[in-house]
Point group: C2
């Protein structure tokens, strides 16, 4: 039996377009002699459809398209499509109106429907808002082969692997009791650093535990803040990774299930074999488990995975995959929002340099416009560094000095600000002048504005609302400053080799940009460390506070200065109002600001620092 | 037996302050001879605490404060406090880490804990993100009286009242079977137009159905976008409303339960009696059921409530209560964020006029600064109307003409914009100049900037991101333009009578502001209706689309022009990126933009208009 995986990149709500993607994949599967085609979770709708699910006409149209698709598909091919299915008993039983379902289409009709049982409600997930959990696990058969069907989170309650139970039910245990021969999983599992290694290690463990091979079909593509990396894979009964699909791009593969051996073929010496540490990036990057991986942010593996997973990696771990994720995130946001070009401010600093490089790689340097907006406080090297960067990348630039505008604001506000001293207000005016100019260019020429703030800044509010925070997409707002440096060094060391960005003789990011002290240049001689602790200190405090939920006491106990910790915590809590109005930011961590970060603004945080 | 209700206004996360509020109420209850004191849902934490609940130290400190509070309270008084309680079995059973609980404190210790069973996940609610649902309903006794304890949503599954079941369980049915004499409810039920009438009608129905009196203790106060109106009340076994606490302010009341009559006393001819149509606003406003009421946005009553509720009302219904809600929302956001003064732009238009009036009422006109920023496109009447408004309200003004800044932007962008025509880019520059000036004043003087856009504009994107959308709080972003007019007319007709705003001889809102054609004045002769349908048409389409989830076909079938409907729908879907970056907006409808509106940005909406 042959099973095809279509690792698709659907657009949210584009039911017609997504249906066509499935149909094209089905034609390919038929050509390659497949009996079954797997698609990702909610493949007909795109994941996550969010409140579109509350629109009855959206559901009605999805239902109609599912029927049309069933009739258009090659009749003999079994195709599993992900969609939202109305819950007929909802009103009678007091249940949610929909199921998150995997629908088996064959011979022109719906043959069987499987409902997702474990509905995540943590981080970016809101599935209880829309869906009723399925009560049972079930399978279908092709020939004599019993194929159990699961959807994403259904496979994430491996109690032995995580050392704890996350849900009452465990679909893979139930399917084992039903005697299935194979488990398939339709997923839309968001990317975060190291997540691919966690997924494969977990399902290798599950395959060994259950003695059942598993095929995991994940969505790929960027949808607003969430990046889906794809990286679909299959493990055989022994827990060997026998096939890994590409990361951060669409892919298609056909696997062989041997009914006699009751296992998936490939791996070992076969041509499809890849080691568990090569998940398709092609950059030779080692992947392994890192501390805070997993769908669940508090998950920790308590299982020794050394037999199946290479845990070794070189710091800085993850630059290659983060780069690829951000490139995909930018490319898809630009495309799916209907843009073809982007604009961004080039300050001569490292953040805008990295974003310009990512954008150039994502949509081509010919579609990137860098705008230099020097002020009297800008140093000479800022302009020169930005110009050198633009040359290296091959992007167009515009130069719009803001000195005249600064003077005109000073004049306009002169009477009102009389006898006050230069401060945050005047600094922010400069940033907002630049924000206005960039948006004017965006509005005039239809370029999407990218904002360039990093996660460290966003955490402590070292950024100007309606100024440098302006933009449709915050490309690196989940990337800590220390990681910004590491990505630039990785890039300059030739980490990324592509037709678009390649600079064999000189660094892509001018070394002066990397070496100089970071500065917002909003007043003479200003550097970031006038206001903030050193970035390696700040980033460690922030990671403990934000990603690991450590208390002030715990962070101090880890060796940080008490006054610094308390100041950082206060800044983080006070900056909530800025983050609430930030552009969607590409998520690469287990705890990003955005849809998975839900903090009150009007609040007291005194409990944190006064106890 | 005497039962006190403390209708408290807690601050989110201010565990120490909230604990003191409870303690003060307990002292008052003791003075008045009460046996039991009720407080709102999560009264120790403030509702909604959102992701603060994911902070282990927050929970630990709440637990410690609960114990301290138990010891500080008058020992004989039974006090029910709302807080989050750790779920000891969470990891073993795969459950959520917390319960949303009502904790009975007496004699210096926790006596009994009741867990919320029905956890809302619709609209602004995310309770499944944090809480495990309680499995059973339970009661405690005072003397011989069995008192059943419920929390907010627990009482919202009255299947007969709603004509449908919203959850599998029904706590009030279970408590009836347990033979309780009285049901108490700790609530944090957000305000929306007409909600008070819905709540009382529902619980009057429940009391009659079960034959059990009910006391409903609701939170009051604004917490970010959500306004809690208070309006706590009690109904006796006959379903009569025997006591109603104040709306939109803190309140305290002591009720008498007669053990012999097995009922709450009061009502009828008693001094505490109020009719169901007077829920404490004191403005003689009639309240009743309107179409889209209820905690659940899709709820519809199918029960004849005419015997207990006055369904008659005069259009425009709700101005008085909306006014009071917005005043509270502004006052609390300003206070709880640590501000004392606000600033806003005064355009001479009706939106900023209404916001200035609300702010003046909320924090006093002496704390409101209006800024006039005329451009060469501003009409003379704009400045004059704004000045007259400021005089009527008694607020300070500043005048900052923006002509010079517009010219300097034109000069700065001159080369780049050569041979392009005046359009959206140039219009937005003006709005963003004003936004920059307002934020400069906010930053310089520590005033909170209020934004003044209405819901109609926010829906169709007729507003400038980083321009007039700037602000810490969007005061009327859930108020449709037609309602903006009705609120101003109501105000001028003397609807609000207060020391702060009273203008017996002339209108508070200058009549010219109400009568002139609305205009953004961003180019010569511009009026809103150049770009948009008439506001009464637009608002009807928007309400059908946004609040009632009607399809394009349904809206057309209701009599609207097809082309207009399709254009409006397209504008709404295309403006998602603006709303994502909007300030928190005070919620007065069943479906506001904000925490209860979760739409993808990068999406296709073609299914809506092409089918």
């Amino acid at each position: 039996m042959k099973i095809a995986i279509a690792q698709l990149n659907p657009t949210i709500g584009d039911i017609c377009g997504n249906s066509n993607l499935i149909l094209e994949a089905a034609k390919q599967a038929q050509i390659e002699g497949a009996n079954l085609l797997l698609t990702p979770e909610l493949s007909l709708l795109g994941y996550p459809p969010r409140d579109l699910l509350m629109n009855p006409s959206f559901i009605a149209i999805a239902t109609a398209h599912l029927e049309q698709l069933a009739q258009a598909l090659p009749p003999e091919l079994a195709v599993i499509v992900g969609t939202a299915v109305p819950n007929a008993d909802a009103v009678k039983l007091g249940e949610k109106l929909l199921f998150n379902s995997a629908v088996l289409l064959q011979n022109g009709a719906v043959q069987q429907v499987f409902h997702k049982r474990l509905l995540p409600t943590y981080d970016v997930f809101d599935e209880d808002r829309y869906f009723e959990p399925g009560q049972n696990s079930n399978y279908f058969t092709i020939g004599e082969v019993k194929i159990g069907v699961t959807i994403c989170e259904d496979l994430w309650n491996n109690e032995e692997f995580w050392g704890k139970r996350s849900y009452a039910g465990d679909p893979i245990s139930d399917l084992t009791k039903l005697g299935v021969d194979l488990v398939v999983n339709l997923s839309a599992s968001p990317y975060s650093v190291g997540k691919r290694g966690v997924r494969s290690a977990m399902l290798q463990h599950s395959a060994i535990r259950s003695g059942i091979p598993i095929i995991y079909a994940n969505q790929v593509g960027g949808n607003d803040d969430i990046i889906f990396d794809g990286s679909s894979f299959a493990v055989n009964r022994q827990g060997n990774l026998i096939r890994v699909l590409a990361s951060f791009e669409t892919d298609f593969a056909v696997l062989e299930y041997d009914e006699n051996k009751q296992d998936l073929m490939g791996g070992g010496n076969g041509q499809d074999a890849r080691s568990t540490t090569d998940l398709g990036l092609g950059e030779g990057q080692k992947l392994g488990l890192i501390g805070s991986g997993g769908n669940r942010q508090d998950a920790r593996s308590t299982t020794d995975l050394s037999s199946t997973t290479d845990l070794s990696f070189e710091p800085p771990f993850g630059d290659a995959e983060i780069w690829a994720a951000l490139v995909l995130g930018v490319r898809d946001y630009v495309r799916k929002c209907g843009f073809s070009k982007v604009v961004l401010g080039l300050s001569g600093g490292i953040d805008s340099a990295l974003v310009a490089a990512i954008a150039s790689c994502a949509i081509g340097p010919e579609n990137v416009l860098g705008v230099l907006m020097p002020s009297p406080y800008s140093s000479d090297h800022s302009v020169n560094d930005a110009l050198e960067l633009a040359r290296n990348l091959g992007i167009a630039i515009e130069m719009l000095p803001i000195g005249d505008l600064m003077k005109t604001y000073d004049r306009t506000l002169g009477d009102l600000f009389l006898n006050t001293t230069f401060g945050i207000a005047e600094e922010n005016i400069q940033s907002r002048i630049r924000g206005n100019l960039l948006m004017a260019i965006s509005n005039k020429f239809g370029h999407l504005l990218l904002s360039t703030g990093n996660k460290s800044e966003m955490s402590v509010g070292y950024c100007t609302l309606y100024g440098d925070m302006n933009g449709g997409l915050a490309v690196i707002s989940d990337v800590p400053k220390t990681r910004v440096y590491s990505l630039c060094r990785w890039l300059n060391a030739g980490g990324y080799v592509g037709a678009v960005l390649s600079s064999p003789d000189s660094a892509i990011i001018p070394v002066n940009i990397i070496n100089k002290a970071p500065s917002a240049e909003l007043k003479p001689g200003q550097v970031d460390q006038d206001s903030l602790p050193a970035y390696d200190v700040l980033d460690d405090i922030l990671q403990r506070l934000i990603e690991h939920h450590e208390s002030v006491q715990q962070i101090i106990a880890a060796g940080h200065d008490e006054a610094v910790v308390k100041r950082v915590v206060k800044l983080v809590r006070q900056s909530e109002f800025k983050r609430r109005q930030a552009a969607p930011g590409l998520k690469i961590s287990d705890r990003a600001f955005g849809t998975g970060w839900r903090m009150p603004i009007a609040k007291s945080s005194s409990y944190e620092t006064h106890h």
